[in-house]
Assembly symmetry: C2
Homo-oligomer: 100 residues x 2
């Protein structure tokens, strides 16, 4: 039996941010703190969530499908938020007897 | 006077996540919801914040310095969190009379 990939772990981040045009009170709070910190030139602040996770799946498309399901069902409120999925890399584990 | 760049706007994201080894109750809550969603194979969930912003600065290094200052002073609690700065791009505006 030749070596075969028995498991691949994919890492993703889901970035959830307020939709354009939706009031973002946390972003406003950061902007209002800028003068107290002596910081000029910073604006358009939006505050959201970042969720990092690992997925065991046979391939990248299947892994991304699971993450998309999770984002839609649990992580993002589609009325007021939008999300983007970011691939962070993959680790494969191989097992078997090469040339056996 | 030749055309000169009068303003450059840089966009960044600051990703703030719980430090390794720090309890992450939001991540646990997501993991405990996975069976109810019928999702298998997802783990190592960490929940943090993502802050997107724009910076007007003369160059990318100066812009990143302002973002780093903001992250250290306001966005990240260094006792329990770590942050990473992600460059999202830049927009330059030029003005002047070419060959004038």
């Amino acid at each position: 039996m030749n070596a075969e990939i028995v498991a691949t772990q994919f890492r993703f981040a889901v970035n959830v941010l307020p939709k354009e045009g939706i009031l973002d009170p946390q972003g406003r709070a950061v902007e209002q703190s800028l003068p107290h910190l002596g910081l000029a030139g910073i604006g358009q602040v939006r505050v959201g969530r970042r969720v990092e996770l690992a997925v065991d799946a046979p391939d990248a498309a299947a892994a991304r499908g699971l993450v998309d399901h999770l984002a839609r069902e649990l992580l993002c409120n589609p009325m007021i938020e939008q999300y983007a999925i970011e691939a962070l890399g993959a680790i494969s584990a191989a097992r078997g007897e090469v040339g056996g």
